[in-house]
Subunit: 353 residues, 3 copies
């Protein structure tokens, strides 16, 4: 009984942390039917400032970082992004009521990274006084892009294979198969197209801009006196918006298969564990910090809420946005944010942060 009381006390203490409290407050707000809305332009601007903060901070750190120290976690981040999509193909895609196309779109979104969730992780580590690598924001695009490209390529290939099979059973099928023989070239072009689209998306391009300015220019003073100062406050508002948004998206899940609910609840935990394990290996190989391991887990647990959906909508128009956006924004994101204390506790247990 004592242990349960202790766990409950710990849980309540965690939920009182501003970052989580604002998220829960936003959900309660929407559930209560409040008419308050934070205007869209303000939301977009807050996200932009957060991305610039993460990008500039990473860029400034990369300037002084040992490139090997950066390369090992970057490779790990990309591998985790790919693994999450492959895992989705083995689990979600095989569940009842889920098409291969929708499963890949959903897994891609869960493999991609949420800047807000990452920012929440950073804020919570700051609150606890746990150090992490300044360059951690530079890992974001590696995991994000690896996951989106893998998911889109797999979904497109599977769609083409299905189309080819259908055509083979029809008159003229042999010709279609012959055309399909030119895959190798088309695939390279497809990957290039996806990469360009992803880099041009609002989130990745803002992050890359911040990174480039942090590396090439000398924005240290404006970073410290503006972006970093406003960071915590703006994050509290963003958490509120995300809580409201999560609640209003939940209703969309009623119209899709139950499998998505299970995936939305469990996948962030499984992916976070994957990211945590990868982080531990990097920690063994290099001097990667405990805070860094936590943030790799947070990135893996998070699902993309800004740049992912439009990229997927463009690349996989056949997929149903209600299923992948509803699962990600309505369940994946709140579960990922609420599980941040778990990764901190695990890091404390395994490494002692």
């Amino acid at each position: 009984m004592d242990m349960i009381a202790e766990i409950l006390t710990g849980f309540v203490a965690q939920m009182q942390k501003p970052t989580l409290a604002f998220l829960i407050g936003g959900m309660a707000f929407a559930a209560f039917g409040s008419k308050l809305e934070i205007p869209e332009p303000v939301y977009k601007f807050i996200v932009f400032l957060l991305l610039m903060k993460v990008g500039l901070g990473a860029g400034i750190s990369v300037r002084e970082a040992n490139l090997i120290d950066l390369a090992v976690p970057a490779v790990a981040a990309a591998l985790v992004g790919i693994a999450i999509v492959l895992l989705g193909g083995q689990t979600l895609a095989r569940l009842r009521g889920v098409t291969q196309m929708d499963a890949m779109a959903t897994a891609g979104l869960f493999g991609a990274v949420s800047a807000s969730t990452l920012a929440a992780g950073m804020a919570m580590l700051d609150e606890e006084g746990i150090a992490y690598e300044g360059f951690i924001g530079a890992l974001y695009p590696f995991m994000d892009i690896a996951a989106l490209v893998t998911a889109i390529v797999l979904a497109r290939l599977s769609a083409e294979r299905k189309a080819a099979v259908q055509m083979a059973g029809q008159p003229g099928g042999v010709a279609a198969l012959a055309v399909g023989g030119g895959y190798g070239n088309g695939k390279a072009q497809m990957v290039r197209g996806i990469l360009v689209d992803t880099f041009r998306s609002a989130a990745i391009s803002a992050l890359m801009l911040g990174l480039a300015l942090g590396i090439l220019a000398r924005p240290d003073s404006v970073y410290e006196n503006f972006y970093d100062i406003l960071f915590r406050g703006l994050l509290s508002i963003l958490m509120l918006i995300m809580g409201m948004e999560a609640w209003s998206r939940l209703s969309e899940l009623r119209r899709v298969a139950h499998a998505y609910v299970a995936y939305g609840l469990l996948a962030p935990l499984a992916h976070g564990a994957l990211g945590f394990a990868a982080g531990l290996i990097v920690h063994q190989m290099t001097e990667f910090s405990g805070g860094g391991v936590v943030l790799l887990a947070v990135m893996a647990a998070s699902s993309s809420d800004i740049s992912g959906p439009p990229t997927l909508r463009g690349a996989l128009p056949e997929a149903n946005p209600s299923s992948y956006v509803g699962t990600s924004t309505g369940l994946g994101t709140p579960v990922a944010i609420l599980s941040i204390p778990l990764w901190i506790a695990l890091a404390d247990m395994f490494i002692g942060v």
Copy 2:
């Protein structure tokens, strides 16, 4: 002559205070025909930040407050809200060219509270170095909701009574009276409906959210390093917007009865005096501070500019918005803000702040 010079000097000094100067500047700006507009989303966001600041601040203070210290001024605030509406029924409603419905809507708006005016009062006390209870923002909903509910209930009952009388004179009137007999139940439901609507309105729900987060979570650091720091600057912009808005609303008053102009100019002073008197009584009964008395007067003098109008429009669709919004935004609000120095001077005279 010396006294007049002294009063004039004091008046000019008051008008130079940033809060009042920005309000007057906004009115001059609009009068001059400036094409500058502060975009609507920015205005909404500033109001949201101010409400969160007032709510969070109150919530953090309530955590450590003695509940009795809070209960007495809360009851006083609610009584003042009700008294203002009843006073409006005895004065404005009896003037020429004013319908009972419009009078109740106007009195409800003047009884409800303006977060911006309250914030201006807080900023001016801060400037003067006069202390006030941290929980003062928690009194806002008591006065606001009491006034709106009283006004809407009275207006609805009077409309139903009039309809019943008209029907009684017609064939089938007895049946209508019989239906009217079910008042008791319908009235309870009506009050519940009004309460739900009021709590869901943008201003009250944002304030309640701030209060809840302040009480249940630990947002102290984000409150101090973000909401409180931006407060004064954002308030200066809000005063500018309110001055511009007041000027542009003044023209609407040309189309309504002269009674509204008299009410808009005099009611804030009468209501403020009522709030001041109530505050003095609370000051005698508990340790309520002089700054608290001033802010109770400021709340009573203010009229709701954000959540009041849509609530009234929903509940009293027969009332004419030109009359109540024009009177409140065009006259009531600037008079209430410009009279803040008066309550400070009175508190100094009566209590010595």
Copy 3:
């Protein structure tokens, strides 16, 4: 070779300054095809805050300034504004494919002042630790209004002269000439109309409001704790937006005469030199600082991006916005901002700042 290397190193160091780096970053961003957009209301609000900052700062300084110290550079600023427009009439207006109307509109825009460019100049002087007069923002309207009024009056007079000549050749021409004889009176009215329009424009009226509040009220604390603190960070975002805007406007220049490209590239340098020379003379006559000379050059080099275009569109509807806005926003503004280090270097050489 050493000198070239030194110049290149100096150039790279200048481009790394946050202000210039964010401008270049914005251009690269747009060139790369990023989908990121900073919402219009946010842009408008940032510009408003910057104008208030410049205006308030100038107003607070004017309070304590010697009026003679202010009058001499103000006259110089107005003369530079007029000279730039006359220069445009002697150069741009005579080039192939350029109408008198379009030339005057373009020259008026280049003579008018950009608050963002002036703010960038202030930020760069702050970075270098170079002092300048606090009242410098008060010179803005003198140059801005002088240039706009001169350009519009000259364009209108030339259009009327042309119309009169055409009518004189037609039946009834004598009557038209007779009407034209009433010029003197119409001209005074025209100038009055242009002045009212210019003062009411968003940029000038916000600046005048800031000036008035700075002089008449006591906004020093809100200025220091809000407007001045946010200044540098907001400027970095504004530079980003202006870089993106410049890139997207460049394409408009394809549709207009080559003369505009030459003017857009060279005029900011010529005008800056003119402003610098005028500043040097003021420096000889009064105690005008080296930083003040730089900012007079920056104002002269800049072209109006906010209030100028709508004022010109209203006053000269026959002029083609693609030519004057494209030349100004696409070329004039980036060249003016990128040339700020040049004026600093020149001031160091001539005065030793």
